[in-house]
Amino acid sequence: MNLKRYQNELIVLLAFLLLVTGFVYKSTQLALQAENAASAREAVSELKEVIALKKIWADKKISQKVDKLKILIPASKVSWSKKGKKVTAVYKGVNAKELNKLVSRLLSLPVVITKLDIKKTDATYHVEFKCKW
C-alpha cells in the first residue's frame, strides 16, 4: 500500500488517536482520583476519629481532673478512695445545688462511670459513684 497516497488521512488518524489516548488518560485519572480521593477521605476521617477518640479517652490529665470532684463539695461530706486509675467516692448530705454541680462535672469528664447512685433523703442527697479511666 502506498502510504503517501493516504498521508493526510494518516496524519488526521494519528491526531485522532492522540485525542482518544488523551481522553482515555483523562478519564482514567478522573476515575482514579474519585476512587482514591474517596478512600483517602475515608482514611483521613478514620484517622481523625481515632485521634479525637484518643484525645478524649486517653487524656493524660484525667487523673487531675477527677481529683477536682473531691474538692467540689466540702470535705466533711466526702469519702474519697482512689486506687490507680479507679475512684470510688461517697458524698453524704449534699444539697440540690451541690448535686447538680457534682453530677454535671462528673458527666463532663471522659471517664467510664461504672456505678452512679443518687438517693434523696429529706432535702439532701446521698451520692455514690465509681469510675475508671
Binding site: 497516497r5 493526510n8 491526531a15 482514591n36 482514611a43 452512679l116 447512685d117 438517693k119 434523696k120
Partner: protein, 307 residues
C-alpha cells in the same frame, strides 16, 4: 528524498507520457509567473506573506494561486502558480498527481541552464537577464549546443503538488482537523495530569497526620484503638444521655427520689403530685423507650432501662 527521483521537465508542448515510477517535475515558465524584487526582508515567511500583493493584477482571474518564494543573491524571487491547472495538464499528459514527488520551477535551477534546453520543435528554454524564459527556437544562435535536463538540475527545495497524495482531505483541511484534535488531546492530557496531581495532595494530608501522630502509623494499631475507644465512647455517651433525659423529666409536680446506674442499666424513682402528672411522666418515659412501672393506687413511678 525528491532528488533521488528522475527529474522531468514539463512544458506545454510535451507529448503524452507513460510513467512507471514516481518523478520530480520541473516546470517551465509556461506554468508560473515570476517576479524578482530586492526587498528589505529578513525572513522567508515575511516574503511569503507579501507575495500575493506583488502579483495584484498580473495573474489571470479565476485561478487559485499558490506562491513559492526563494532568495537569489540579494533579490527575492516570487513565483505564483496554479496547482489545479498544473494537475489538470499533467493528467492530460498521462501523469497522475500521485506520481509527482516534488514540483520545481525552472527559475530555481538558474545556474544549471548554461545553455539552451530544447522544448519540442519550436521552443527553447534559455536564461535572459537572470531569468529562465521560453523563446522560439529560431531565436537561438546555431552554434549553441542544447543541454539535456537531468537530475543535476534538481534544486534543493520544491513544493508538493496538492492532491499528489491522493488523499480525500486537502493539506489545509488536514492541518485544521489535526490541529483541533491535538489541541483537545493536549487539554485532556493536561487535565489528566492535574487530576493525578490532586490525587497526591489527598495523600499528603494523611501523611501529615501520620507524621504528627507516629504511634498511629500502624493500621492494626489504629483499628485496635478505634475499636477500644469507640465502644467506651458510645457506652459513656449513652449513660450521660440517660441522666440528661431523666433530669429533663423533673418538672412541676414531679419529685425525684432515687437513681441508680451501673454498666448494664439504670433505674429511677419519681413521685408525682397526682395521677395526671404521673401519666404525663409515664408517657414521656415511654417516648424515650424506657420501661415504666407503677404500683396500683400510687403516683410513684419506676423508670428503668438497659444500656
Amino acid at each position: 528524498m525528491g532528488s533521488n527521483k528522475p527529474l522531468l521537465l514539463i512544458h506545454s508542448s510535451i507529448k503524452t507520457l507513460s510513467l512507471a515510477e514516481n518523478v520530480n517535475i520541473m516546470l517551465t515558465p509556461q506554468f508560473y509567473t515570476m517576479k524578482k524584487e530586492a526587498l528589505p526582508l529578513k525572513y522567508h515567511y515575511q516574503a511569503k506573506k507579501i507575495a500575493p500583493s506583488l502579483f495584484d493584477g498580473l495573474l489571470e482571474e479565476g485561478g487559485e494561486y499558490r506562491y513559492f518564494v526563494f532568495k537569489e543573491g540579494e533579490e527575492w524571487v516570487f513565483i505564483a502558480y496554479d496547482p489545479g491547472k498544473i494537475s489538470l495538464f499533467l493528467r492530460e499528459k498521462g501523469i497522475s498527481p500521485e506520481q509527482v514527488s516534488k514540483l520545481f520551477f525552472a527559475q530555481q535551477a538558474l545556474d544549471s541552464f548554461t545553455g539552451p534546453v530544447l522544448l519540442g520543435e519550436k521552443e527553447a528554454l534559455v536564461v535572459l537577464n537572470d531569468a529562465v524564459v521560453v523563446v522560439p527556437r529560431t531565436a537561438l544562435a546555431e552554434e549553441l549546443v542544447p543541454l539535456a535536463v537531468d537530475n543535476s538540475f534538481t534544486p534543493s527545495s520544491g513544493v508538493v503538488l496538492e492532491g499528489s497524495s491522493g488523499s480525500l482531505l486537502s493539506d489545509k483541511q488536514t492541518m485544521i482537523v489535526a490541529a483541533v484534535f491535538l489541541v483537545f488531546a493536549t487539554m485532556f492530557f493536561v487535565e489528566g495530569w492535574r487530576y493525578s496531581h490532586e490525587l497526591k495532595t489527598g495523600e499528603g494530608e494523611m501523611q501529615r497526620l501520620l507524621e504528627e501522630y507516629p504511634s498511629l502509623q500502624s493500621r492494626i494499631k489504629r483499628e485496635n484503638i478505634a475499636a477500644k475507644y469507640q465502644t467506651i465512647d458510645s457506652m459513656e455517651r449513652k449513660k450521660r444521655e440517660v441522666v440528661k433525659t431523666l433530669a429533663g423529666m423533673i418538672f412541676k409536680g414531679v419529685t425525684f427520689h432515687e437513681f441508680t446506674m451501673n454498666e448494664k442499666g439504670f433505674k429511677a424513682r419519681f413521685s408525682c403530685r397526682d395521677a395526671k402528672v404521673a401519666e404525663r411522666l409515664g408517657t414521656l418515659a415511654k417516648k424515650e423507650n424506657f420501661s415504666v412501672s407503677k404500683e396500683a393506687g400510687s403516683n410513684e413511678l419506676w423508670i428503668e432501662g438497659k444500656l
